[in-house]
């Protein structure tokens, strides 16, 4: 079983790694965006999908990562780029742990409102502070190498999915998370320290989002409060995961790829993305009404296919 999965994963990654050979610079930028959004959706899914806590505040963590990188690379600080990413990760995970402990006592919709309030509060704070450049934003020393950013985003996304696979899908931690999603009092009665588990998941999710924020800041070389902390970032993460399938490993990647490609196609066809937002809205409504388990649930044959592939593969291995 494991063999087929690993092989499929390796093939996908190999194809993605070879992608720049056949793409022009513009398409490569889109592919980089797909990797970024796939990673962000994956991060959101840890809390929203596996733990069952809908966060409307993940833009805050993306923004923390972006601002950590941008601030540390300002003239006077001059940190090397790669040294800033762990800082963003630790700061975001720390913030998530600190606010997570009280916030995650709130259930359901209360949690959603609280995270939303927190993210908007942080957005307003960044807007009025001097050190973050206020509404004017910050510039980062430019490094114009599209291949570098593509591979970096791809590597980050691969690591994020591996982390989810190892830490959440196939571990005791993941079982605890899903147990508390399905019935929190029962999980607690079984001896699971639900608050601890929830805060760990929240911190993990925030840290991953922050890393992508840091790479994004270096990639686009200029950030302002709305572009890295605006509510639209959260909106997209939520929709991508809902569309792909809540609490599944590959659902977020599927949803992110589809939506980001749609976004870019709309942009290149019409010159702006104004129509994209109503499309997002319609997609959420349609998914909630007709496809609550996401696109992944449309592939019931996948398991069968995998089993058949597995049999074929083990047969071949045995013959060798």
């Amino acid at each position: 079983m494991g063999l087929t999965r690993w092989l499929a994963g390796v093939i996908v990654v190999a194809v993605l790694a070879a992608l720049p050979l056949g793409l022009d610079a513009y398409s490569l930028r889109i592919a980089t965006g797909v990797c970024m959004w796939a990673g962000l959706a994956c991060a959101w899914n840890i809390v929203g999908g596996y733990a069952g806590y809908i966060s409307f505040g993940h833009s805050a963590f993306f923004g923390i990562g972006a601002y950590a990188t941008a601030l540390l690379m300002q003239r006077g600080m001059d940190w090397p780029f790669f040294a800033t990413l762990p800082v963003g990760l630790v700061v975001a995970a720390g913030v998530a742990a600190v606010i997570g402990a009280p916030t995650m006592r709130l259930r359901g919709s209360y949690f959603a409102i609280a995270t939303w309030a927190f993210a908007e509060m942080l957005l307003q704070l960044v807007n009025v502070l001097d050190v973050t450049g206020g509404p004017g934003g910050l510039s980062v020393p430019p490094y114009l190498n599209e291949h570098f950013f593509y591979y970096l985003m791809l590597a980050a996304a691969v690591i994020a999915y591996l982390a989810v696979w190892v830490l959440v899908e196939r571990s005791r931690f993941g079982f605890r998370l899903r147990a508390l999603r399905d019935h929190e009092p029962a999980a607690e009665a079984l001896g699971i320290r639900t608050t601890l588990v929830k805060v760990q998941a929240f911190a993990l999710s925030a840290g991953i989002a922050a890393v992508f924020g840091g790479i994004y800041a270096y990639w686009v070389t200029f950030i302002d409060p709305m572009s890295v902390m605006g509510g639209e970032i959260t909106d997209q993460m939520v929709v991508m995961v809902l569309l792909g399938g809540l609490g599944t490993v590959w659902g977020p990647a599927l949803g992110a790829s589809l939506l980001w490609l749609t976004n870019r196609m709309v942009w290149s066809a019409l010159g702006d993305t104004a129509i994209y937002l109503p499309i997002l809205g319609v997609i959420i409504v349609a998914v909630v009404l007709f496809l609550p388990n996401g696109l992944v649930s449309l592939l019931p044959g996948l398991g069968q296919l995998r089993r058949r592939g597995h049999r074929l593969l083990t047969g071949m291995v045995r013959k060798l």
Binding site: G52, I113, A117, Y276, P278, L280, G281, I284
Partner: protein, 290 residues
């Protein structure tokens, strides 16, 4: 001192409108158990409807308000069954799916408004103007006083409706216990859709009032969703009586922060306070039932 009194008066006048804005939201939560993220979207669309009534039909916003309310009530009546369906469905987490649904509706409204009308603000002018009423050191703009009175009248109408009619009795019964009300012969799905219609109509009507005072643009929705959440959380979700106090409180706080701290800090303070209130007392500070 004069400045303080003026800020207080401004805050009370706006706060009354914000209280009225939240009543429908609370009714929806009480009856449908749905937190409607789109509440600010209804306010925004109501404002645009008032603008259209003014520019296309030449109707003064205070005359077109009932019309707008009726139109949006019809929209809500059509949308209500969908929301009830999701909330009572067999999904793993119907409460979160319903929240996601209204979140989608809100993104659709905001995105649609941005796409159709772009970022520009639109003013909804009204014939009601004139010199401010002087009360000692405090000046009360006529428009705001009239808007406050209209909001007070709307709120009063909702309260009479809730406490003096058979329909209101059914609404309160469902808010207390959906099952028992259903057993007593209340058609719960139908009533839920009707409550949602009352909510959208009322909220859009308030949107017209707010558009006459401020202007309307696609981004005001987020602001009013925040205000509604703040008032609702402070009052206790589902509590209709508490919103009167909480709404006035929010109006006064916003006005004081804008004058004494700076207008760019007002959202920071309100979001911060909302977060703090949620953490300290998620049941609300003024918890009282419907």
């Amino acid at each position: 001192m004069d400045l303080f009194l003026q800020a207080l008066a401004n805050g009370v006048l706006i706060g009354g409108i914000l209280a009225c804005l939240t009543i429908g939201f609370q009714l929806t939560f009480g009856v449908l158990h749905v937190i409607d993220f789109a509440v600010g979207g209804w306010v925004m669309l109501g404002g645009y409807a008032g603008y259209w009534a003014l520019t296309l039909l030449g109707l003064d916003p205070f005359i077109s308000l009932p019309l707008v309310a009726v139109v949006f009530a019809l929209v809500g009546r059509a949308l209500g069954p969908l929301i009830y369906h999701v909330r009572t469905s067999r999904y793993a987490r119907p409460d979160l799916m319903a929240l996601a649904l209204t979140f989608g509706i809100f993104i659709f409204m905001r995105g649609g408004a941005l796409w159709l009308w772009s970022f520009n603000s639109r003013n909804v002018d009204t014939a009601i103007a004139g010199p401010a009423i002087q009360l000692g050191p405090v000046a009360l703009p006529v428009l705001r006083v009239v808007a406050f009175a209209a909001a007070a009248a709307l709120s009063l109408a909702v309260f009479l409706f809730l406490y003096r009619t058979r329909f209101g009795l059914a609404v309160r019964a469902v808010a207390q216990s959906r099952e028992n009300a259903g057993l007593m012969g209340v058609d719960v799905p139908r009533l839920s859709a009707q409550v949602y219609a009352v909510y959208t109509g009322l909220t859009a009507g308030v949107g017209v009032l707010l558009a006459t005072i401020y202007s309307v643009n696609p981004d005001v929705g987020v602001r009013y969703t925040l205000f509604a959440f703040f008032v609702a959380v402070l009052a206790g979700l589902g509590s209709v009586g508490g919103v009167l106090v909480a709404g006035l409180f929010l109006g006064v706080v916003e006005s004081l922060v804008a004058i004494y701290v700076g207008i760019s800090y007002s959202h920071l303070v309100i979001f911060g306070a909302l977060y703090a209130v949620l953490l300290i007392s998620p049941q609300g500070i003024l918890r009282r039932g419907l």
